[in-house]
């Protein structure tokens, strides 16, 4: 758990990560708030808050008497949201760091090409 950000935000992100990674497929049940709380060793109210954020965002929904489920289309929506943030969260810091080290953009692009097989 990161010290500087609210825990419920981090819980929401962890669940989002699992959905994006495919560990929580759409229309499957997610663990209960208490299970999240016990697993991450956090307060159940906080875990509940994180889950509620995702419910408000339409990523999760509640089936009365059963529990929380991943909504259809959740993965797509999350991927789209993350793509929007990719530029600010990953690219911008990359460039700042590269500038610090005197690496210009062309060199950075070369590095990107070398990296990975895809």
């Amino acid at each position: 758990m990161d010290e500087s950000r609210p825990i419920f935000v981090q819980i929401a992100e962890l669940i989002e990560n699992d959905i994006i990674a495919g560990a929580l497929p759409e229309e499957t049940q997610v663990p209960s708030t208490n299970e999240f709380a016990a697993f991450h060793r956090i307060n159940p109210a906080t875990a509940g808050k994180g889950v509620n954020v995702l419910v408000d965002d339409g990523i999760l929904y509640k089936k009365r008497g059963i529990g929380m489920f991943v909504a259809s289309g959740a993965r797509e929506r999350l991927v789209a949201k993350r793509r929007d943030r990719f530029q600010n969260e990953f690219i911008a810091p990359l460039i700042v760091e590269a500038e610090k080290l005197g690496i210009d953009k062309t060199q950075v692009i070369d590095m990107i090409r070398k990296e990975g097989t895809a």
Binding site: M1, D2, E3, S4, R5, P6, I7, F8, T33, N34, A37, A38, H40, R41, I42, N43, P44, A45, T46, K49, P93, V96, K100
Partner: protein, 298 residues
């Protein structure tokens, strides 16, 4: 949400010393509160006042809406576990667990049995002969299994090793999830419990310094690290909580930073590191004046 505990201008003086100094706060139902502060800050005295074990010099207390002093209607729903609990001579742990249900209407014996196994507590050894950790375990087990709607834990984990402490936190969370109740926990080991807490009360020298949601405290302070020039420029118009440095490097703790502030810091080449709850409490309650050699970022 209703307030389970309400303290209003609570003061407790012992001769010349003021152990609790004009404290006012309220505790909401079914939350886990942390009561943090240094040794001798007044945490134990405060809890003793709230449970009717000690008497206030001034001020008012309401627990479940009534004054708790000598009030059996209120007190039967309260469980106060303190590390200095004395046991009758010749008592063994099994006597404690046999008698606890007579006083705590919600006592869960099956839960107590599981906890006794978890903490490996010898039921038939005289309490005088138990180790510090085993003694603490008795208190912890009573506090958990009592399921008292209002439960206080006053540093009950002295002597518990790290494994046993983790067992305590885990069982507390589990049980709290299934059977919510109001828990007030005082501790030095802030980082261990900071993720469990919903609300934080920090006491120093009898006064209430902080009374806030744990979540809003997170990120309420940040440490800015970089060249002295850069850091000084960045923190120029901000409240500084703590200054530290070595050589040409400065490390200054300031208040909450907005995303724009963070971006600006990044541009200036400054590093931002988070301030944990423990560090925050240490900063606020440590000696504020001089920066001694011992004053390092925790």
């Amino acid at each position: 949400m209703s307030a389970v505990v309400e303290a209003s201008h609570l003061t407790r003086r012992f001769g010349d010393t003021t152990a609790v100094d004009d404290i006012s706060f309220s505790v909401q139902k079914n939350t886990i509160h942390g009561l943090l502060g240094r040794n001798g800050a007044g945490k134990t005295t405060l809890m003793q006042l709230l449970t009717g074990q000690d008497f206030a010099t001034r001020g008012e207390i309401r627990v479940f809406g009534e004054n708790p002093v000598e009030n059996s209607g209120v007190l039967k729903n309260v469980c106060f576990i303190k590390e200095s609990q004395r046991y009758p001579d010749e008592f063994k742990p099994r006597h404690v667990f046999t008698s606890a249900p007579w006083f705590f209407p919600n006592w869960d014996a099956a839960f107590a049995d599981r906890l006794i196994a978890d903490f490996r507590l010898p039921l038939n050894r005289r309490i005088k002969k138990l180790s510090r950790g085993q003694l603490s375990a008795i208190g912890v087990i009573v506090g958990l299994a009592s399921r008292a709607p209002l439960t206080f834990f006053d540093e009950p984990y002295l002597g518990l090793d790290a494994v046993a402490r983790q067992i305590f936190y885990d069982r507390l969370l589990e049980d709290y999830g299934d059977h919510p109740r109001t828990v007030i926990l005082s501790t030095h080991l802030i980082d261990e419990v900071s993720n469990l807490l919903e609300h934080v009360l920090v006491i120093d020298e009898g006064k209430l310094l902080i009374d806030e949601d744990a979540e809003s405290l997170r990120g309420s302070a940040t440490t800015v690290v970089g060249t002295r020039q850069g850091v000084d420029a960045f923190v120029a118009d901000r409240e500084v909580l703590h200054r530290d440095g070595i050589g040409g490097l400065a490390s200054v703790t300031v208040g909450r930073l907005s995303p724009q502030d963070r971006a600006r810091a990044a541009e200036m080449g400054l590093e931002l590191s988070p301030v944990s709850l423990q560090q925050l409490v240490v900063r606020l309650t440590g000696s504020t004046q001089t920066e001694t050699a011992l004053e390092q970022s925790a």
